[in-house]
């Protein structure tokens, strides 16, 4: 690669105090910018095209992939929201993901706290059990899961979906927070105990607030993971009125033939993407920080 070019000019240059750009630097920077810009275009063009197409009529979409819409069809969004049912799927998704997120964060933090800070017989076993949940594919569990929910009467219901989301997000949450609670100094727990705080109080008033940065990172990842979940709802949430967004949009796109209102399909895609993209842009600093935290062992 052209990166090698930088070597010679950098060595040949005379001694300078100021960090001046050599010719090699400029070449490297130029090549880097070109490649990264190309990749950025690869990412942005499909998204921009989706946005543009969401304002076109189906006829216009078939006429030319590039032409701008003659009339901007905001109607597409209304159709997607009402006719295609994206509105009600959106509501279901918010309910399910919201409840599951709160529950899994509380339960996961509690479990991680106990595993990280108490020694009791079997604590190692519990830890490895969690590891197993992270390693095995969900597909192995999906058939029995279907019948477990059926037997307890939660199949095709929102509470059933919530509890399964909680169960499958739990191992990741526990793992991530485990290292966080482990790192908190023991003196803090002792100080709380000396001040007369019981176990419950120590956790909720001392430990939990201290683990806030870790909790925020895990919450963001869990939010993305659950919002984007597809397999679990498709398998155990077949009831049309309880569908979540991912199911709804897949079904919308899967209608065979030319009956699909493509403009509304693109609009639906935009409706699904915008909340997560906005959340990402708001939290992007935190998220990128936690990507690095998550890889440390």
């Amino acid at each position: 690669m052209s990166l090698k070019l930088s070597k010679k000019p950098a060595v040949a240059g005379h001694v300078e105090r100021k960090a001046q750009e050599t010719r090699g630097d400029k070449v490297v920077a130029g090549v880097s910018h070109t490649m990264l810009s190309l990749w950025s275009l690869m990412v942005l063009v499909p998204l921009a095209w989706t946005l543009m197409s969401s304002f076109k009529t189906t006829k216009e979409i078939f006429a030319s992939p590039f032409a701008l819409p003659k009339v901007w069809q905001f109607q597409n969004y209304v159709n997607a929201w009402n006719t295609a049912g994206i509105g009600s799927y959106f509501l279901n998704t918010v309910i399910v993901v919201g409840c599951a997120l709160v529950i899994v964060m509380v339960l996961g933090a509690m479990c991680a706290y106990v595993l990280a800070r108490y020694v009791f017989p079997g604590s190692k076993a519990v830890y490895y059990l969690m590891l197993a949940g992270l390693t095995f594919p969900i597909f192995l569990a999906i058939v029995p899961l279907f019948f477990i929910l059926k037997n307890i009467g939660l199949l095709n219901t929102l509470p059933g979906l919530i509890i399964v989301y909680v169960a499958f997000a739990l191992p990741f949450t526990v793992f991530f927070l485990f290292s966080f609670f482990k790192a908190l100094p023991h003196e803090i727990g002792e100080a709380a105990a000396i001040d007369g705080a019981g176990e419950w109080r120590t956790f909720f008033q001392v430990m939990l607030p201290m683990a806030k940065p870790g909790l925020a990172s895990v919450a963001i990842f869990n939010f993305l993971g659950l919002w984007n979940q597809y397999l679990i709802p498709v398998a155990i949430n077949a009831d049309h009125s309880h569908w979540v967004l991912s199911q709804g949009i897949a079904a919308f796109a899967g209608q065979q033939g030319y009956a699909v209102d493509f403009g509304s399909l693109f609009a639906a895609a935009i409706i699904v993407v915008v909340p997560v993209l906005v959340a990402y842009i708001i939290f992007q600093r935190q998220l990128q920080g936690s990507v690095s935290a998550g890889t440390m062992k």
Binding site: K18, L36, V43, G133, T135, P144
Partner: protein
Amino acid sequence: MTQVTNKVQSGSGVPAAARRRRKKLTFDKVSFMVVFLGLPLAIYLVFVISPFVQAVYYSMTSWGGFNNNMPFIGFDNYVKLFNDDIFMISVRNSITLAIFLPVITVILSLILATLVTIGGSSRGQIKGLKGAGFYRIISFFPYVIPAVVIGVIWAQIYDPSAGLLNGILTTIGLDGFASYPWLGDPRTAMIASMVVIVWGFVGFYMILFIAAIKGIPAETFEAARIDGAGRFRTAITITIPLIRDNIQTAYVYMGILALDAFVYMSVLNSTGGPANSTLVMSQKLFSTAFQKGQFGLACAMGVVLAAITLIFSALVFLVNRLTGGSKDVSE
């Protein structure tokens, strides 16, 4: 909650010398352990661990599902699977994905991460490329987009007549592609599908590698520079060995994802593609269970999938260990 704890705690006036080691079992402590450990663990055992165990048992029955009649047939399901041509095609497709996707994704994201981190000036302080923040934010976009939506968008991009790809290709003069069905031709369906998955994940691993590279102390790079190593040399002999563990983690994650690939494959080509060229194990499992109702057989497929996943992870760890991983890295 907190009021109860105070009372119980203060009621323990027994001289503690005798049982210094043994902690008292107060109500506070017992209730705490039961709720904090018992509740999450119960949910986890019922909804995650027990299905895994049950699946292994069901895989040895010819269970049709909706009655309790589960004739035990031992390993017959597995024999049946290995004689099922279509299932074997799906196994081959899944393994193809597991071989190519991690390699392509990891290499591409490593290159991009390297460009961002060492593209800066070779004088003065070690620093990254100008505008790196912008590239980072943009690259990460696909990761936050739901997989289903990625599939839907790309299915439209690949559309033979109205799609973006053929539109671009015909505009630059390649008229042969005017109505080429990327997802409908067995020769390109698999490659086209792989491109979609790579598109979705390169940004995520790029961010991961950037974070790892930034974790390397600047002195290391300065020392390499003083010794006369150029950027390319630094990337190959300094950066990559030092972030080896991150690369291994990324490789395993990506492989596990490739062995699943259900969302992408089923949205891009819901029935397995032309001549089953994009049919993967997870799709086959899903249709066997929820369309045909052959639950025993589907569970056997799940066991095969889990076995392949474990073998894959073990292989990656083994190769990394054998090639000297995590030895020449000073933590």
